[in-house]
């Protein structure tokens, strides 16, 4: 029988223990972000439409949308976007391939670690855009120095995230594999690669931003086409609606890359 002895009588005065919290667990609302964004755009539009803000300095969202539409219709949008995408795509892939190879070498080889970390530590802090004039001297005026600048920027961040990821693979898993006489190549393929993948994908997020930053900078310094060149040109002509249209394109590109990486994480890291 359940022992109810000691429970208070109905008329007995008691005080309830006050709930003091269950830790800080900020839950994000599904629509909160969109509502906030819509609200900001509405206020921005109202401020511009009523003349509260000078349209030359801050064009309204509708003016930016019109500029975007005109860019798309005229074909200029694709011309600039395709130039930037090509540079980012080639530069990012080259930098990533080299960074993954070097990162794994540093993570797995004592010799590569001692040499590689020294060079990476010395060269990583250099703003890669500062090397663009030198790369132009070496590679000539054209796509190559811009792609090389992006590849360099991506390479260092990728190499660091890859060897950090390799270092973070639990040693007990490697010992386990060794205890079963699993060959080195299989350990790399089946233990170290999947174990390092979370860090590598996190690195991709950073390198995508680095690539975007460098492509815009490089295009501002020396390019006829590209989003960076377009934004600079619009700024020089005081076409702020066009300028902000370029910025919106960059923002959309960044969001799209983030979504792709998020999708990759969901697909490849579902075990977490």
């Amino acid at each position: 029988m359940l022992d109810r002895a000691g429970l208070p009588a109905k008329d007995e005065a008691t005080r309830r223990v006050r709930f003091r919290g269950a830790g800080f667990v900020p839950a994000s609302s599904r629509y909160g972000g969109w509502i906030a964004l819509a609200l900001v755009i509405a206020i921005w539009q109202a401020a511009g439409s009523t003349g509260l803000v000078n349209a030359l300095f801050l064009p309204t969202p509708s003016a930016i949308a019109r500029a975007l539409y005109q860019l798309a219709v005229s074909g200029a949008l694709w011309q600039h976007l395709s130039a930037s995408l090509l540079r980012i795509g080639v530069g990012w892939m080259l930098g990533t391939a080299a960074g993954v190879a070097v990162g794994f070498a540093i993570g797995l080889s004592r010799l590569a670690r001692s040499v590689g970390i020294t060079f990476i530590s010395a060269l990583f802090p250099i703003p890669k855009i500062a090397l663009l004039p030198l790369l132009i001297l070496w590679l000539g005026i054209g796509e190559e120095p811009k792609i090389a600048t992006i590849a360099l920027g991506v390479f260092f961040s990728t190499a660091i995230s890859v060897y950090s990821g390799v270092d973070a693979v639990p040693r007990n898993l490697i010992r386990m594999a060794q205890s079963f006489n699993v060959p080195f190549a299989t350990i790399v393929r089946k233990v170290i690669w999947p174990g390092a993948l979370p860090a590598i994908l996190a690195g991709f997020r950073i390198t995508a931003s680095v690539a975007l930053l460098l492509v815009v900078s490089a295009e501002m310094i020396g390019a006829q086409y590209g989003i960076g060149a377009f934004v600079l040109q619009a700024g020089n002509l005081m076409q702020t609606d066009q300028l902000l249209a370029g910025v919106v394109i960059l923002s959309i590109f960044g969001l799209a890359v983030g979504k792709v990486i998020g999708w990759l994480e969901t697909r490849l890291l579902h075990w977490r």
Binding site: N172, S179, V182, K190
Partner: protein, 257 residues
């Protein structure tokens, strides 16, 4: 196949961990290693299994392993060491991937190992979806898949709650019952040692030396009987009296570290 610890001494830098440890684990025999914290039990097991080079002495094998054994000395790890990105089935198959076995042969071994550990219905689960006890069953299943001659178990139950420990201990007793497989069982838990081992190697405080080798005076099958419990308890008390003072010293040393 016998496993021999032949005058094993080990140092980590200036720290002497093991000092001239020698004993033999016969075919099908279960030897437990007990001792105060930090006495080098896990280090000794790593050396016996070829995961650590001793400073001097050597682990040696005598006789041939069973012809079907794919990995005669096989570890069961304290922290399970499961690949978190692989399913139960893939974890059990992992040590077979580099062998010459066909996919069908691998599948048969995996099926058998999963069946023996009661994991058949969980083959598609990921480690994060399993309880600690089930994870260790995956570790045991993986070990069984390679048909070991000797299991090297490094405190395999210490990360588990008492009820799960009891259930897994029953599994160990069952798996080791036919004598086809021997084991070296490192533990802090004297009850586990007395329950499972044929002989118990008692190590001294660091540097670990063999203080005594205690033979458990009854078959493993007989230890489940009520009459045996008193004898086992007496045996545990005997071993505890050997290591109690050193365990206290070791604990103080750890606290001061």
């Amino acid at each position: 196949m016998d496993l021999i610890a032949n005058h094993i001494t080990h140092r980590f830098g200036d720290l002497a961990v093991l000092d001239d440890v020698s004993f033999t684990v016969g075919a099908g025999e279960v030897v437990a290693i007990v001792g105060p914290s930090g006495c080098g039990k896990s280090t000794l097991l790593s050396i016996l299994g070829g995961l650590l080079q001793p400073t001097s002495g050597a682990p040696e094998l005598r006789g041939a392993p069973p012809s079907d054994s794919l990995n005669p000395l096989t570890f069961v790890f304290q922290d399970f060491a499961l690949l978190p990105w692989a399913t139960v089935e893939a974890n059990v198959e992992f040590p077979l991937l580099h062998t010459q076995l066909s996919a069908a042969q691998r599948r048969a071994l995996v099926d058998d190992a999963l069946r023996r550990t009661g994991l058949t219905d969980f083959r598609q689960a990921y480690p994060k979806q399993l309880s600690g006890g089930m994870r260790q069953r995956v570790g045991i299943s993986r070990a069984l898949a390679v048909k070991p001659a000797i299991l090297l178990m490094d405190e395999p139950l210490s990360a588990l709650d008492s009820q799960t420990r009891e259930l897994l201990m029953e599994d160990f007793v069952r798996l080791l019952a036919d004598g086809g497989m021997g084991a070296v069982y490192v533990t802090h838990n004297l009850e586990e040692a007395a329950r499972l081992a044929d002989r118990i190697v008692v190590l001294s405080r660091r540097p670990g030396r063999i203080r005594e080798v205690v033979t458990v005076p009854m078959t493993r099958a007989a230890r489940g009987e009520v009459a045996a419990r008193e004898k086992l308890l007496a045996l545990q008390n005997q071993i505890w009296s050997l290591i109690r003072n050193e365990a206290i010293d070791a604990e103080r040393e750890v606290q001061h570290a």
